[in-house]
Each structure stands twice: as structure tokens, then as C-alpha cells.
């Protein structure tokens, strides 16, 4: 067993031979943050009394959802056989929406801990991240976590892991992030097994940006991994993708609080502060070099983040529009993947069309906007970006159904993904049925172990962004897991379905769907609206239409009774309060033609949950 390192290696003067850069890759909830906590504690980096669960997950929303959105890097000392080593632990985001950030974090490491919950086994994101790690030539240390759980099946899953990465089951480490069992051995193993970083200390400096975070006080904090050369305080640096130059106001390491240093050398991981205020000026994946002695070739792998999913965000209260605009502007400082532009909806008023990496990114952003800026928002049903070629050869990018051209379309292309689904083999039938119904094309199927299958499908992105994951979870009793990545596009037979209330089109409910699904969408949406819109004093027809052709219809019968007959024994106050409440309710209605539609109806109609059924009227 190793003691805590007595003297920690000093940044900028650390021999690469004693550096180990690693990350932990795991499916969500398999215990990555908890394990990181234990490591911080064991190495003495965080004092016992400062320890709080998931120390590295800084944002409130991360704490609440128990997930990691932004990666962080921590420098920790660890002594093995009398040598003090410097370990850099890079905590990567676990969710599929942030795959690119994961891949950059991995590129900053030489090794990865493949952490698997001993009660769950391998899941789709374990696999996806493992493949990414292998593409980056990382050395993998397989670890089973949560072995303290009574439901843990260490032998079974050790075999599964060994089978997956081609080792022996006995080599799989057993730990518990909760109790700390096995964590010291794991740290020793990291020192022994992971290669030290290699680089040329005399070459022009090259450092890869693997994260970039906006901080209100310090501006953008950029996390880098130095590959060649050295970066020093006050020197001028250059971003190789844009050639923009900045002065290094501060350079340092996180341990885990930011600690300024005399610089960063080969193999080291740390942060830079240049005073820039926008993460777009310091982009994940970019290469930092020194202005005096610039490198000629970047480290490669840089990619502009590409939004995949679009949704209209509207303030419930129109007067909040400027607040929303300012909030989005601030958010983009810290989120290079977020794009937005103003849009107006006849039904919802002024808002923004916002592009996200995926559904979780959307949900988290929306929740943070609501919480941090005290906003009530409606988000329209998410959709993907279509490329529409008109007969006159003009090409349009459509991210909003209401921009979909009517008529004269030569071709529409939709984005595709390749998806990997992992589940116990008893669910194969249900999963394939789901994927087939979502226009998927089977790519292949492998048995990872006796009873666990990996199924690969190519699917239209539009088919998985909305409710696919929820349905997958329910069809597999929670055991199924999903990962996907963008995979080109394809020609598709798509149509725009409009929804009309009393003959009046409600733009917020328009959708672009595959022709075969248009009818189902029309029936679903008209049915939902019939339940959600209160009866009016006149009959309200609800129709779904493709162009001028009606494909589904419903109708809300006129209300016949709206009076409280009972006199509450002279309790007029109660009656008046009820009236005031009704009038309040009226104010929160949006008028669509003559029809009063409650805000809640928009929210419920646009959300995928089924709970709105409880509120149905007769």
C-alpha cells in the first residue's frame, strides 16, 4: 500500500517520466464522480472537512442531476516505491450529447480507467467511450465499481469486461468509490501501467485545449494539455485555428483549486487565463502555441461544435423577452455549442430558435435559463436540421418547421446517426421493433457476453431526438442503454404537417415528419389538443393538414355549463376569489383566432410526457 506523497512534484519542473495523465470513462451513474472524490481525499488534495460529494461537479444543476457536464482536470500527487508521481485526473462528461468534449478529454490522456458498475455491467456509453479511448490509443485499466453493493456480480462482469478488452478476468480491479476499498491499489496501478507522456521539450510549444469554461471573475479559463515545449506566464500565445493572439495573464494547475505556476511543461495539464470573455475565442480542440516561436503544425482533431437539435424557446410572459436574450448571450460565453437566433411565432410571440448538441443539452440549458434568470419558458418540440433542395436548385437549411417551403421541392435530406444499443438479450426483439418503427437499418449485432447484446442501427436523427430514449428504457425495463454519433445524411420522403384550430394554423404545432408518420402525428396532436384546450362557447374544430389536405380531425364541443349553482351559505368571499382565479387563468391564455388556448396546453402538447392525460376534461 502506498502512502500519500510527501513532496509533490512542482509544475513546470516536472519530468514527464513521473507524470500520468488519465481519465475515467463510465456510463452515467456508474460512479465516476464518487471515485474521483475518493482519489482527491486519499491523495490529500482535498481536506477531509472540505469534502462534499461529487466535489468536481461544480454547477448546482450538475449536483442535482448527479451528472457531470463540464470536464475538469485535477493534479494529484501519489507516491509509489519512494518516487512521488504527478497524476492528472481528467473528469470527462458522461453523456452522449457531449461526445466531442469527451473525445478531446481523452486525447489529453495516456490512459483511461474503464469504470463499470458491478451491479449493472457494461452499458452503451461505457462502450462508446471505450471505443473513443481506443481510437486515441489509450491504455485501459478495467475496474469494477460499487463492489460493496449486495447486488454486485463481480465475477460475471469481470468476465464481461475481460472479454471486451481482451484481458483476463483476474486483472480487473475491484473498488468501491463509496467505501474507498481498492482505490489505493488503483492509484498504484495507474502509476505502474500507464505510459508517461512523450513530447519534445525543445520544440515550439503545442498544447491542446480540452475544455474552456467561462468564469464571471476571471473570464474564460482554458484547460490544456501540453504536448511539446513549454508555456510560461506573461508570454504571448496564439490559437492555431484562428491565429488570434492573447497574453497569458495566468497559468497554473488545479489541485483542485486553481494554483498559479511558473508554467507548464511537456505532458503537464493545467489552465490558462488570457482575459478573453467568450469561450468561442478559446475553443475546445484547438492548439495553443507560443507567438515568438510558433509551431507550424497543429495537433489536429479540431472540430467546430455542430448543433444537432433545434427548438424554439419562448418566454411565457412576453415581457421577459429581453431577459431571455441577455441570458442566452451570457450562456454562449460558456457554451461554444449553443447557437441561437431570434424568431417569432404567431402563437407564442417573440422567442429564439436555439441549436443544441442533443436533448440533454437542451434540457439542461432550458432548466438553467429558468432557474438562473427566473424565467418561465415554453420550448417547442425539438427538431433536426433539414437540407431542402428546391426545383430551381436553390438549397435551404431548415431548422424550424414553419420555414419549410410549401411545394416545388426537388429533394430533402435529413441527418442520420449510427446508434449503439446495449441490453440483455431478452430485449432484442423489443429493441429491434422500436428501431424498425423508427426507420432504422440494422447494422449489426454482437454478443458481448452470454446474455448481453450490442445492437447497431443507422437511424434518422429526427427519430431518436424526441422520445426514443424514454421508450427504449421502458421497453427494456431500464436495462437498455443508448449511444449515438452523427453519420451523414440521407434523402427522405418528408412532409410538413400543420395543425389548425378553427381553420387557423398554429405554427408552434407544425412538424416535419416522414410521410408514413404524418397521419400518426396528426392524430396524436389533434387528440392531445382536444384534451388540453378547454371547451369554448362555440365548437372548435382541430385539424391536421398536409398543405390543403386534411389528414386528421377532432373537435372540441361547445361548453354548455359554466356556473357554480350552489350558494356557499353566504360565503361570498369564496365565490369572489374563485372569480378572481378564473380571471387570472384567462390572462394566461393565448388567443388563436377566437380560441383561448391556455399556456399549459402549449407546454403539455409540446412535451412528450403522458401525464397530461390525467388532466383531461370530459
Amino acid at each position: 500500500m502506498s502512502p500519500m506523497a510527501r513532496t509533490a512534484p512542482v509544475p513546470a519542473a516536472t519530468d514527464p517520466a513521473i507524470i500520468r495523465n488519465f481519465c475515467i470513462i463510465a456510463h452515467i451513474d456508474h460512479g465516476k464522480s464518487t471515485l474521483a472524490d475518493r482519489m482527491l481525499q486519499l491523495t490529500g488534495v482535498v481536506q477531509q472537512r472540505d469534502m462534499k460529494a461529487q466535489y468536481l461537479d461544480r454547477m448546482d444543476i450538475e449536483r442535482e442531476r448527479g451528472i457531470t457536464i463540464k470536464s475538469q482536470a485535477v493534479r494529484i500527487p501519489w507516491e509509489v516505491d519512494g518516487t512521488a508521481y504527478c497524476l492528472n485526473m481528467i473528469d470527462t462528461p458522461g453523456h452522449v450529447d457531449f461526445t466531442y468534449e469527451v473525445s478531446r478529454s481523452l486525447a489529453a490522456c495516456e490512459g483511461a480507467i474503464l469504470l463499470v458498475d458491478a451491479a449493472q455491467g457494461i452499458e452503451a456509453q461505457t462502450l462508446a467511450n471505450l471505443y473513443l479511448a481506443m481510437e486515441n490509443n489509450l491504455t485501459i485499466i478495467p475496474v469494477l465499481n460499487k463492489i460493496d453493493l449486495p447486488a454486485a456480480q463481480p465475477e460475471k462482469y469481470a468476465a464481461e469486461l475481460a472479454n471486451l478488452i481482451g484481458g483476463k478476468p483476474e486483472d480487473v480491479l475491484m473498488v468501491s468509490g463509496k467505501t474507498g476499498v481498492g482505490v489505493e491499489e488503483l492509484l498504484d496501478q495507474i502509476v505502474r501501467e500507464l505510459p508517461a507522456p512523450k513530447g519534445d521539450p525543445n520544440a515550439p510549444a503545442r498544447a491542446m485545449i480540452f475544455d474552456s469554461v467561462y468564469d464571471t471573475y476571471r473570464g474564460v479559463v482554458t484547460y490544456v494539455r501540453v504536448v511539446d515545449g513549454k508555456l510560461s506566464p506573461r508570454e504571448k500565445i496564439q490559437m492555431m485555428s484562428t491565429r488570434a493572439t492573447h497574453e497569458l495573464l495566468e497559468i497554473g494547475v488545479s489541485s483542485p483549486e486553481p494554483t498559479p505556476s511558473k508554467g507548464l511543461g511537456v505532458g503537464e495539464v493545467g489552465y490558462l487565463i488570457t482575459g478573453v470573455k467568450d469561450v468561442r475565442q478559446s475553443k475546445v480542440g484547438d492548439t495553443v502555441t507560443s507567438l515568438h516561436k510558433p509551431a507550424t503544425e497543429s495537433l489536429g482533431g479540431y472540430q467546430d461544435p455542430k448543433p444537432m437539435v433545434f427548438s424554439g424557446l419562448y418566454p411565457l410572459d412576453g415581457t421577459d423577452y429581453p431577459v431571455l436574450r441577455d441570458a442566452l448571450e451570457k450562456f454562449t460565453l460558456n457554451d461554444a455549442a449553443l447557437v441561437y437566433e431570434p424568431e417569432t411565432s404567431a402563437a407564442l410571440g417573440f422567442g429564439f430558435r436555439v441549436g443544441f448538441l442533443g436533448l440533454l443539452h437542451l434540457e439542461i440549458t432550458r432548466e438553467r435559463l429558468e432557474r438562473e434568470y427566473n424565467l418561465d419558458l415554453i420550448s417547442t418540440a425539438p427538431n433536426v436540421e433539414y437540407e431542402v433542395t428546391l426545383e430551381d436548385k436553390k438549397v435551404l437549411q431548415v431548422t424550424n418547421p414553419s420555414e419549410y417551403p410549401s411545394g416545388k421541392i426537388a429533394e430533402v435530406r435529413e441527418p442520420m446517426v449510427s446508434a449503439t444499443i446495449l441490453a440483455p438479450n431478452e430485449f432484442v426483439g423489443a429493441i429491434m421493433e422500436l428501431c424498425q418503427s423508427r426507420r432504422g437499418i440494422l447494422g449489426g449485432m454482437d454478443y458481448l457476453s452470454e446474455d448481453r447484446v450490442e445492437i447497431r442501427y443507422r437511424l434518422p436523427l429526427a427519430e431518436i431526438v424526441f422520445d426514443f430514449f424514454d421508450i427504449l428504457k421502458s421497453k427494456t425495463r431500464g436495462y437498455g442503454s443508448l449511444d449515438w454519433k452523427a453519420d451523414g445524411d440521407q434523402v427522405a420522403d418528408l412532409v410538413k404537417v400543420d395543425i389548425l384550430l378553427q381553420g387557423e394554423q398554429v405554427d408552434a404545432f407544425s412538424a416535419i415528419t416522414h410521410r408514413d408518420k404524418a397521419y400518426a402525428y396528426g392524430v396524436m396532436m389533434t387528440g392531445k389538443l382536444r384534451e388540453l384546450i378547454p371547451r369554448q362557447q362555440f365548437e372548435v374544430p382541430i385539424q391536421a393538414a398536409i398543405g390543403a389536405r386534411i389528414i386528421a380531425r377532432e373537435s372540441i364541443r361547445a361548453i354548455r355549463k359554466d356556473v357554480l349553482a350552489k350558494c356557499y351559505g353566504g360565503d361570498i368571499t369564496r365565490k369572489r376569489k374563485l372569480l378572481e382565479k378564473q380571471k387570472e387563468g384567462k390572462k394566461r391564455m393565448k388567443m388563436v383566432g377566437r380560441v383561448e388556448v391556455p399556456q399549459e396546453a402549449f407546454i403539455a402538447a409540446l412535451s412528450s410526457d403522458e401525464s397530461s392525460k390525467d388532466k383531461s376534461k370530459k
Binding site: 362557447q537 355549463k561 353566504g570
Partner: protein, 409 residues
Amino acid sequence: MPSALPLGDPAPADGVLPAQAAEGASSRKFSLYAHIPFCAVRCGYCDFNTYTATELGGGASQAAYAATAAHEVAFAARALEASGVPARPMDTVFFGGGTPTLLPAGDLTSILAAAVEQWGLADGAEVTTEANPDSVTRDSLQELADGGFTRVSFGMQSAVPHVLKVLDRTHEPARVPQAIEWAREAGLKVSVDLIYGTPGESEADWETSVRTALGYEPDHISAYALIIEEGTKLAGQIRRGLVPPIDDDDHATKYMLADELITAAGLGWYEVSNWARTPEDACQHNLAYWRGDDWWGIGPGAHSHVGGVRWWNVKHPTAYAQRLDRGESPAAGRETLDAQTREVERIMLTARLAEGIEVASLPPAGRSAVAGLIAQELVDVRLAFAGRLVLTLKGRLLADAVVRQLLAD
């Protein structure tokens, strides 16, 4: 479970009212409401403030109740005087519940006597008690009449056994004509309460109930759409699927049927849920509520109104009795309405009456809503052009929507 009281301002222990209560009081009418918070059983749909225990603690037993209520009468007289509100003879008195007739007739007449002693009765005053058909006898009704009561309102609810069963009503249907006959013999005017839209009640069932009630030739009929009140046993049964839910369209159909049958029998509507044989037979006490007159409500949970001040008593009979024992006001809270709120209430309350609202008395927004109301056939077109808003049959069913339009801002 009885329903909740409103939230309001605290009420002072001496019961003295804000100054506005006294303004113009001498030209306003005055009524008394007496709440009797006891029932033999609690009906599954009912959330009124009523208790089935015979022995509530702390001077709140049924036996002690008449004396306690008489205390509040005395307290009321003192508080009104201290507030500068002149004593006026009572135009109407109404004993409601609960089941007032669960108490011996002598208790009711003694409470009435205490009030008459304080304020006196106006000429031709209406004095009503609610009664359950199985809680009266020939003798008790005679005793009530002898003690000054002029009118009795029977909770008939339905003539159909399976409907009465869902409502948890205990009386035999045949008991109703019997009780009515005794009341008539005693010289009391008779009203019957009906409830429509009970789960499981067919349109034919409802027609039977209305025709049966009309067959008794009452002076007055109230017909209430069943309200599923939160927290009641019936609400729970519906939530658990043991009883089918109620339906607004069914209510509308049954209301129209009732109006047709009752009108054909020669009674006329004077308020959304009330019909009377002649204008004099309309429940004057009920009208006092809708017209915004003054009344003092005695008893636990009772509501009062004097000149734009509304207050309500503590709900529990024990707490109520303790307050009075200490010589304190039993009021739990009150509100003093400003001019604008009083106007809102006036429109809200009088819109329901057949006498209607003077168009000229409406605020500008209300006046501009009139054309729309005519176009929607919610108010009588001829009367509207003559300057008075009176609901049509369709308008009565949508009365709350009419009020919202009149008060739209």
C-alpha cells in the same frame, strides 16, 4: 371534511366593525342567519361545516348549543351598537346547517326569540329553517310555526332510491310528502331542495324527481347541480373509480329539463338555481345575499356582511363556544371591501338574478361587453335594449362566463 375558510384580515376580539359598516346602514335591510352545525350522518357529497358527534367538548354539545348561539346574538347586538350600526328589525331569518331540525324545536325557537328580543321582526318577515325530511314530526313543525317560523325548506334531493343512496340520504322517499303535509297543516310555506347530476342518475330519474317534487305543489324549488367538493367521501369514490364522474353536459341537459318542467308547472325562476310560485314566494333571505344586504351570521363558520365588511366565524363548535365564553368575538377573519371590489361583487351577485342588472350601472368595460352577450344569446335581447341585463336560459348555464365578460379588464 368541511371546506376551508377564506384567508382574510384578523378580526378584533370586541367585534367592532370598521367605520364603513355604519355608513348608510339605516336605509339598508338587515337579516339573521343561524348556523346549526349538526347532522345525524354526513352525506358523502357534503362539505358544509357540520358535525355528527352529539358530544363535542367544551360547551359545544348539541344540548348546550342554543344557549351558546343566544350568546352570540347578544354579542352581535353589542358589537353592532359599538360600531355605530343602528339596530334594525330583521327582514328575514334563516336557520341553516347542518340540520337545524336535529335540535329540539324549542331550541330553535329560543334562539329565534333571543334575536327577536334584540332586534324585533319586520312586518311580514320571512323566517325559514332547513330541515331533513326524517328530522321533523307533525308536532315539531307545529312548534316551529308557533314559535315564529313561517317557512321550511326540505332537503328532498331526489325521489329516486338509487340516487338517494349514492348521496347517502337516509330518508324514505315517502317521508317527503308526509313532512310537507305536516308543514302545510302548521301553516308553513314549503320549499324543496333537489340535486341533479348525481353519478348514476339518468335523465329519466331526474325527470321523475322534478315531477314528483312538483306533485307536492311546493311554493318554492331549489335545484342544485351536484358539486364534487374536494375532500368529501364522494370525491374519493370518484377518484378511486368506485363511482362514475359527473358530467357538465349532463348537468346542462338536466338544468334545461328542470326549467322546462318547473316553469310549465307555473313557477318562475328568480335566481339561477331557484324558482318560486309567485314573486312573494321567492326566498327573501336568499335574495338578501345576492342583493348585498346586511346580515349577521351566528354559529361556527357562519359568514356575515354589513356594509361591505365581510367576516366569518371560527369553524369548530368547541372553539366557537370558547370564544363566546370568554366574551370574545367568534370571528376568525374578515375583509373590508373597497369600492371597486364591492362593485365587482355587485355584478357577480346580481347577474344571477331574474331582476338583472341595470346596463347604465355597469362600468365602461361591462357596457361594451353587452353587444357581445346579446350576440351570444346569453342575455335577453329585448330587455337589454330596454336597459336591463337578464340572463337567457343559455346565459343562466353560462352565468360565470357572463360575469367574467362584464368584468373583463
